[in-house]
Amino acid sequence: MSCHSCFIWALFSKHATDPLFVSDVTEDGVTGSSDASGAEQIDLAQLGTILRERRGTLSLRQAAAEVGVSFSTLTRVEAGAQPDLTSFTLICGWLGVSPAQFFMPIAERRVTPMDEVIAHLSADPRLEADAASKIASVLKNMYDVLAKAPTQRPVVACHLRAASALRPGVPHRLNSMLGAMHDKLAERVAAGEL
């Protein structure tokens, strides 16, 4: 009847303010997230590619019927969208692959602004090593005092009525928006406004 599906959505404390946070969407449509604790990235582009290859000459409609998901969900997943967990599990089952294979360890680590500043200072020929280190130390202290601490958000759950598959870039934005909604609602409940 509608293109909507309801999900239960879990929010986790992954934020751009964390210097080790790696954006969850890369240019090739890979969606995932990582942090300093060694969490992993999910390669949805790979899921789409394998799905397309395995489907071969089978039509999307036939394949969707075999998998047990809707035609639109399968189409979107092939294009790199993030399926809900039920669809993801069904697709992996049909492909005969372990869901774990789509989670890849992170090899990259983003350089923090402070690492970059220290590297520039150390490389400056006008500065003695000791002087560069002193400036770096002052800057580091100021940075530690003035930089905002990463927001630690507890896990939040909500029923979510949303599209059945989300395009690259959407899960991350929706995640942070739902987190903001939850925080604001909690404030209002605490203030007796709701």
Partner: protein, 182 residues
């Protein structure tokens, strides 16, 4: 997937009971926001909580990406609805979320796989909420009275402020036309 045996009849009975509590005749329009108030469930526009520009940006990235959500905060259920939707769609979304709450569906399937938050759903509960939400907005007696006066699907959707898809789905799935044709 099919609904468990007897669910549709139960949904109609429960919808009739709720309408009675709200002093509505079987053929009256039900405002889901009024029902939410009756059940002490707050309904909040998402634009009251986040910048509307962010909602519009999400809509540009993917139309209909976000419609509604139910949060549970300090044992209270709060429904947040996307104000960018037409009123008919908002009514369906609110009714669907209310159905989840009234059917006592719990948030029990939060999953994390290797650090990745994942959306999960229970397909049977979704189907129940869709069926019950539809019965709340357009119960069978209401559709029967609309069919008697030969109202079209479009007229039903306008009069009762629901989407045409919802009006068509309910009109066809409840078999009222067939009943009158006998």
């Amino acid at each position: 997937m099919t609904l468990r045996r007897g669910f549709k009849a139960e949904a109609e009975r429960e919808a009739a009971r709720v309408r009675k509590e709200l002093d509505l005749a079987p053929h009256d329009r039900l405002d889901p926001r009024q029902l939410a108030k009756h059940l002490s469930i707050a309904v909040v526009d998402a634009s009251d909580l986040v910048d509307i520009a962010d909602l519009e940006e999400l809509e540009r990235l993917q139309a209909f990406a976000f419609s509604a959500a139910t949060f549970e905060i300090e044992d209270r259920s709060i429904i947040v609805v996307n104000p960018l939707r037409m009123i008919g769609r908002q009514n369906s979304d609110i009714a669907h979320e209310l159905a989840h709450v009234m059917l006592k569906h719990v948030l029990s399937e939060i999953r994390e796989i290797d650090g990745m938050p994942f959306r999960t759903c229970k397909p049977e509960e979704e189907e129940e909420a869709t069926a019950f939400g539809g019965a709340l907005l357009l119960p069978r007696p209401l559709l029967l009275s609309a069919a008697r006066r030969q109202a079209t699907v479009d007229e039903i959707s306008q009069q009762y402020e629901v989407t045409t898809e919802m009006a068509r789905f309910r009109y066809n799935s409840t078999g009222v036309a067939k009943q009158l044709g006998r």
